[in-house]
Subunit: 424 residues, 2 copies
C-alpha cells in the first residue's frame, strides 16, 4: 500500500536524521529503542510527547502504547510530577550531597512497599538488579544465582541478552530454570547446593517474542520456600512491572514477599531513577557493598518519584490502567472474532502482549502493527506494551479504530495465504 | 572549639535528617557522598546550590570545591545549560525513542573529540567503563584487561573498591600494573599475552588518599605502543577528568589518543549522562554489544550536554578554571610558607588534591578541612576536588581567607604535637 503524503514527509525527515545518526552512532542507534528491531515504517525520532500521545518529526500524532518502554506511568509531562520536579530543580538537583527529598522518598518507599525495611537509589534497572545480586552474595557469603531461562534482567555482562564481549566467567555462577516450572527450579537449587545465594525472578514471565505468563501461585510459593530452606535471598526484579500492577510490589497479590527487590522504570514517571529495596536481614550487606554513581543522589528525579508514588496511591491510577487495559483487550477480542483472526492477548491488561497464533515469523504481527501505526496507534509486535493513567476511553477507542482496520488487512493477508496454499 | 550558634543549628537540622535516613537507608547513606567518610562537622544534606555556592539545611553557605564530585563544570544552575534543558523539557524528555538532539549531540561530540568516530550514550560512568571493556573484548575476541592498581573505574563487581559480594570470577581477566610504571605495564601485557583485549587507564593518577600524579609522556606513549603491538584497545577512563582538562580528551596534550573512551560527570553540567566514544576500528563491536538502559535516550540531559560542550568551547571555561586553580594553589602555597606548614598540592590545578606531608592518618588534613568548612569553604581531605567555571576571583579569595585561618589552626596543632614529642 503506497504511503500517503504525510507518511512520505515523515519518512524523509526521520530518515534524514537516521542517515546522520548512522555516521556518528554505531548502527545509528543502540539498545531497546532501536527501530531496526521493528518492521519498516516506524519513526526512530520523536518531536514531542504529552499525556499518552507522541508526535514524530513530521508532526504525526500517535496514541503511544509503549510509554517510553514503561517509565511513563501517569502520562508524559504529568502536571503534578513536573511541578514537583520544577520546584526541586529551582533549589538544586545534583549537589555535593543529597537534598531532604531523598529521605522523604526513602520514607515513602518504605511506607508503601510492605517488604521494604530500607531502600537505596540508583539510575538504571541494571544498577538495581546487579546491586541485588551483589547484596545477596555479600549477605549470604555464597555465589550461585538462579535465573529463569530467557528472562531479561538488564544489560550488564552477567545478564545481557547478547554474548558479544561477554566472558564465560561473567556468568560463572548463574544457573537456569524454567519460569513457572517448580521441578526445574528445585533441580537448579539442588545444583547450587550450599552455594545458593539467590533466586532472581521477574514479576511475571515477560520475555520478548513470547506469550506472557502470570506466575502460578504454586511457583511463587515454591520460590519463597526454596529460598527459605536454603537461606538464600528471593530477589524480585520488578523493574518492568513495578508500580504498574501494585504499588506494594508485583507479588503482593500472591502473598509472597521478596528479600530484595529491583525497581526502576515507572518509579518517577520518566525521570531517571532506580531503587533497591530490602529486608532488615540484608541491611548490613547493603551497607557493606560499595555501589554508587555520579548522579545517584540527584534530587529532581527523587522529587518526581515522590509525586509519582503519591499520585499512584491517591488517584487509583493502577485501577484506571486496568480498566483501560480491559477496554482494549475486550475490544480487540471482539474485533478478532469479527474478522475471524486468531489473536492471542497475554500479560496483565495494563501491560499487554498482542500476538497472533501460528505466526512464528511475525508476518501477521508485523503487518498488524504497521497498519495500526499508519492509523495513529504506536504498538509493538513482540515486546509487552505499557498503558499509563493518561490513556482515557477515547484514546483506547482511537487505538481500536486503528486496530480494526489493521485486523482487516491481516484478515486479507491470511485469506491470500490460504488461497495460495489451496492452489499449491 | 565549641561550634557557634549557626553551626549548632546546622547540626541539629542535618542530624535530624540523618537520624531519619538511618532508619530507611542502610547506614543512612550509600556511596561516595556519604559523609561518614569525612571528619565530623560536614553537612550530609543540602538545601540549594547556585553558581559555585552550596547552602546546607541551616542556610549556611559554602564555596563548594567539590562541584557534586565533578559534574558541575560551569556552575550550579548555569543559565545557558538550564535554558536548553527547559526548552527540551517542554517538548519531551524520555519518549518511546530519542529526540533530534541525540543526533545533534552525537555530531557535536564527534566533532569536538579528535579520536571519536562515533559515540553512544548511557547514564553512569560505570556504564561507560563497563561498555568500553565489553566492546574491547567483542572487537578483539580476547579477554584480558590491564588496570592500574588502585585506580577507580566504577562501582560494578568487576571494578568496585569493596569486595563485599564480589566473586573471584568477576575479576578473572583483570591484570594489574602500576600507573606511570612502564616496566610493570610491560610485564602485565606479557602475562596477558595473546589474550590482551585492552589497557584501561585513568586520565591521570587520581586515586583517593594519595598525592595525584600526571601521566608521564613516556607512560602515555608506552600504553599506546603496547596496545598497538598487541592489537589491543587503549581505553581512556575520562569519567572524572573529561571536559575539565581538555574538551578533546585528557590525553590530547600528550598526543596519545585512545581507541575507546568513557565519559560522564561533567558532560552535561550535572544532568545525568555518560558516553562511550570510539574509533572506527571498534564501531562494529560497539554495534554487536547489547547495552541499554531505560533512560539512556532521555532528551533533556542531551540538550544540556549540547549547551555544556558548546559553552565550554566558546567561553574558554577550562582556561578560567585553570586561572582560578592557579590562584588557589599559589595562595595556599604562600599561606603554607607563612605558617611554616608542609602542604603538598598535586593534580591539575582545576582538580586539586591538597594534603599534608607526613600525615598518614589525616590528622592535619581533617583539622584543615574542618576549620575551612566552619569558615565557608567546602573542601575534601583525601579526594581530588573540582573547580568550575563559576568560581571567580572573589570566591577563591573567600576560600583562601578560610584556609588561612584553617592553616593557623593546623600550625598550632603541629606545634602542640612537636612540644609533646619534645617532652617525651
Amino acid at each position: 500500500m503506497a504511503p500517503d503524503d504525510s507518511s512520505s514527509r515523515l519518512l524523509s525527515q526521520d530518515e534524514a536524521l537516521r542517515a546522520r545518526a548512522l555516521k556518528v552512532i554505531p548502527g545509528g542507534m543502540w539498545g531497546h529503542m532501536n527501530v531496526a528491531r521493528l518492521p519498516p515504517g516506524y519513526p526512530q525520532f520523536f518531536r514531542s510527547a504529552s499525556g499518552c500521545r507522541l508526535r514524530d518529526m513530521a508532526g504525526t500524532e500517535y496514541v503511544d502504547l509503549m510509554c517510553g518502554y514503561g517509565p511513563i506511568v501517569l502520562g508524559y509531562g504529568d502536571p503534578d510530577v513536573e511541578a514537583a520536579a520544577t520546584a526541586q530543580r529551582g533549589r538544586g538537583d545534583l549537589m555535593t550531597g543529597p537534598a531532604e527529598c531523598q529521605i522523604e522518598l526513602a520514607e515513602l518507599v518504605v511506607e508503601t512497599i510492605p517488604h521494604a525495611d530500607w531502600v537505596l537509589f540508583a539510575k538504571n534497572g541494571t544498577d538495581a538488579t546487579t546491586a541485588c545480586v551483589t547484596i545477596a552474595r555479600a549477605g549470604t557469603q555464597r555465589r550461585k544465582v538462579l535465573v529463569a531461562k530467557g528472562s531479561y534482567h538488564g544489560a550488564a555482562p552477567w545478564c545481557t541478552p547478547s554474548l558479544a564481549g561477554v566472558t564465560a566467567e561473567d556468568r560463572a555462577h548463574i544457573l537456569h530454570f524454567d519460569y513457572n516450572d517448580v521441578p526445574s527450579l528445585e533441580l537448579a537449587a539442588d545444583e547450587a547446593g550450599c552455594d545458593l545465594a539467590a533466586v532472581l525472578v521477574t514479576a511475571f514471565k515477560h520475555d520478548v517474542r513470547r506469550h506472557q505468563e502470570a506466575p502460578t501461585p504454586a511457583f511463587t510459593h515454591a520460590v519463597r520456600r526454596i529460598c527459605n530452606a536454603a537461606g538464600a535471598a528471593l530477589i524480585l526484579d520488578d523493574v518492568r512491572a513495578g508500580f504498574r500492577l501494585h504499588t506494594g510490589g508485583s507479588w503482593e497479590p500472591y502473598g509472597v514477599r521478596p528479600d530484595l527487590c529491583a525497581w526502576s522504570k515507572a518509579i518517577a514517571n520518566g525521570h531517571p531513577l532506580a531503587a533497591v529495596t530490602g529486608t532488615d536481614r540484608f541491611r548490613d550487606a547493603a551497607q557493606q557493598v560499595y555501589v554508587t554513581g555520579s548522579f545517584w543522589c540527584s534530587a529532581v528525579p527523587m522529587a518526581a518519584a515522590i509525586a509519582t508514588i503519591k499520585k499512584l496511591r491517591a488517584t487509583g491510577a493502577i485501577a484506571t490502567m486496568e480498566a483501560m487495559g480491559h477496554r482494549l483487550r475486550d475490544g480487540l477480542e471482539a474485533q478478532a472474532r469479527a474478522h475471524d483472526i486468531r489473536l492471542r492477548q497475554t500479560g496483565p491488561v495494563q501491560m499487554p502482549m498482542i500476538m497472533f497464533e501460528d505466526d512464528p515469523d511475525f508476518v501477521l504481527g508485523y503487518r498488524f502493527v504497521q497498519e495500526a501505526l499508519r492509523r495513529g496507534a504506536y504498538m509493538h509486535p513482540w515486546h509487552n506494551m505499557f498503558l499509563c493513567a493518561a490513556h482515557q476511553a477515547d484514546d483506547i477507542d482511537r487505538v481500536l479504530e486503528a486496530t480494526n482496520e489493521a485486523l482487516k488487512q491481516v484478515a486479507a493477508l491470511v485469506d491470500r495465504r490460504q488461497s495460495a496454499k489451496a492452489v499449491q
